[in-house]
């Protein structure tokens, strides 16, 4: 579709080249700079003017960083937090959205309204009372302290409900006539049809949990239980810079890999819930 300019003209190639250069410099160069930086010894990193390719390669930096910061432990903690958050969220919101959409309970709209009302609140307005509730329930240093509050996600309930609403009633009726119970209908009919929206909600839940900082900071005072984000900021001041850079790269790799694998879902999911042109 042609829009602002005529395609194929000289101006087009100028703009294309400029954008290519600008994007590469803005987004690729800094990341390559870090990737390569981790291979340089600290003295070379402090040198002026800086080197582009390492003069002295220290290929061991990534392994050293792994051992120095005990990253294996924090990776495992983060995986438990992120995938636990996903599992708990699914167990909570899928049946809820199904009930609100297809079982139409008495006062269902009131329940949905009360859930959606929580979206009005900035997340941080609840920082203190949720934290105190977690201490009352003795959930500090416990991954459940992340999983459970994260599961109270009204936006995801709403997204799922809206998708379920579009599933034709006749389909569920047919299942019922074939003798399927409510659970069977959910698992055999509704979930397989809803795979696209489930994928979107799942990916965004895992990514959000992996990226989060403030909640893990509050929930895990015990250093041994911390997630990567919290551990990295704790180690940052006392870690040789090349090891820290290697640690930052390693902590990002799973999310970059996830993005490369699920690009289509992630980019489609961006516009799924909120935006219509």
């Amino acid at each position: 579709m042609r829009t602002l300019t005529r395609p194929g003209g000289k101006a087009y190639w100028v703009v294309l080249t400029a954008t290519l250069v600008l994007f590469t410099v803005a987004f690729l160069v800094p990341l390559l700079w870090v990737l390569l930086g981790a291979f340089k010894p600290p003295a070379e990193l402090a040198q002026q003017p800086p080197t582009i390719l390492p003069q002295t390669w220290e290929p061991g930096a990534y392994a050293d960083a792994w051992n120095y910061m005990d990253l294996g432990k924090f990776f495992l903690n983060t995986i438990v937090v992120a995938f636990g958050a996903w599992a708990v969220q699914m167990a909570v919101i899928v049946p809820a959205a199904y009930a609100l959409s297809k079982l139409k309970p008495l006062f269902g709209n009131v329940v949905l309204g009360l859930m959606l009302a929580t979206l009005m609140l900035p997340a941080t307005a609840l920082l203190v009372p949720v934290y105190l509730t977690l201490t009352d329930l003795d959930l500090l240093n416990n991954p459940a302290g992340i999983w459970l509050p994260a599961a109270a996600n009204a936006l995801n309930v709403y997204l799922l409900k809206r998708f379920f609403d579009q599933i034709p009633e006749e389909l569920l009726e047919a299942a019922r006539i074939d003798g399927a119970g409510t659970w069977t209908t959910l698992i055999r009919i509704v979930l397989p049809i809803s795979r696209p929206i489930l994928a979107v909600v799942s990916i965004f839940t895992v990514v959000a949990a992996w990226k989060d900082f403030i909640w893990p900071l509050l929930v895990f005072p015990d250093p041994a239980k911390q997630t990567l984000s919290v551990a990295l900021q704790r180690f940052a001041p006392d870690t040789p810079i090349n090891l820290l850079l290697a640690g930052l790269v390693l902590a990002s790799l799973p999310m970059v890999a996830l993005f490369l694998a699920f690009q289509r879902h992630i980019l489609a999911g961006l516009t799924a819930g909120s935006i219509k042109g």
């Binding site: 994007f23 079982l103 269902g108 929580t118 900035p122 934290y131 919290v230 902590a251 935006i275």
Partner: protein, 285 residues
């Protein structure tokens, strides 16, 4: 009747989770704002004392000024840059996948990682930015080490880190604009700038407005970046409202005053959240 029982069975987990971690804390937050909590004796009602303490704290005004300034900068830079980028990308027919990939890559990185990376880039000595400026013979900057530039340095980082999602949402909105509108404008003799002003912006105004409000709500709650990069300094120039809230709650253990500050923050942000919901509903209709 049985249908309702079954339905509430399916809803039960969600009701418990929302009640314990959302609805009850809302009420508790309001109550706490008027209490003094010390975990030794029972909470004590103190009326408006917590609010009074906040208003007497010189950092309170500083934090709000910084947050407002941060929000304005984030709107000018963090809103303008993605929109312009989307308009340009919408014109291009080549390397689309590459552009999308690159612009969204930083969104996937944990904010702690980007904050620590940029802290290293901003190092006034051997940092990437000053090195490049020096190579080009341009004046260097103190970046995070000066009260004049620390806040804007953080805005630049958050723009870089978050512009992927805004850019791609704008791009999706731009692609829904019918091409005939541009052709009609062209027949009327409109140049590129006027086409953007008279066609592109009016056609995407709901999306623009929604992202604008979302961005206000998000930037007013900024915490991770100043916490990691500057800790609020230099000269308190990057103390945000949330950083102050964090200090009251988790450094001074004064949960009552922290809650009072949450309540004020909520009142301010509530306006924007309300507008956002109204706009969303109108766009949906």
């Amino acid at each position: 009747m049985r249908r309702h029982v079954t339905a509430y069975g399916f809803l039960s987990l969600a009701l418990v989770v929302f009640a314990v971690f959302s609805w009850y804390p809302i009420v508790r937050g309001v109550v706490l704002s008027f209490q003094q909590v010390n975990f030794v004796s029972d909470p004590e009602w103190v009326g408006w004392e917590n609010f009074q303490r906040l208003f007497d704290d010189p950092l309170f005004a500083v934090a709000w000024r910084n947050t407002a300034w941060f929000t304005v900068l984030a709107l000018v830079i963090g809103f303008g840059v993605p929109f312009l980028t989307a308009v340009v990308l919408n014109e291009l027919r080549h390397a689309k996948g590459y552009f999308r990939l690159l612009v969204y890559l930083p969104v996937m990185l944990p904010p702690v990682v980007t904050a620590l990376l940029w802290k290293w880039f901003y190092d006034p000595g051997p940092g990437l930015f000053n090195s490049v400026l020096r190579e080009l013979g341009l004046p260097t900057s103190q970046w995070l080490d000066s009260g004049n530039t620390a806040l804007i340095s953080i805005v630049l980082l958050t723009t870089w880190a978050n512009m992927g999602s805004a850019t791609l949402i704008y791009l999706a909105a731009l692609q829904t604009i019918p091409g005939e509108l541009y052709e009609a404008a062209e027949l009327d003799g409109a140049g590129i700038a006027r086409k953007v002003w008279h066609v592109t912006i009016p056609q995407t105004k709901f999306v623009i407005l929604m992202l604008l409000l979302l961005q206000v709500v998000a930037t007013m709650q900024v915490f991770t970046e100043p916490f990691i990069m500057t800790g609020g300094g230099p000269e308190d120039s990057t103390v945000t409202v949330l950083l102050l809230l964090y200090r009251y709650a988790f450094v001074y253990n004064d949960f009552g005053t922290a809650s009072a500050l949450s309540l004020i923050l909520f009142a301010v942000l509530g306006v924007f959240s309300f507008l956002y919901l109204k706009v969303t509903r109108r766009a949906d209709a």
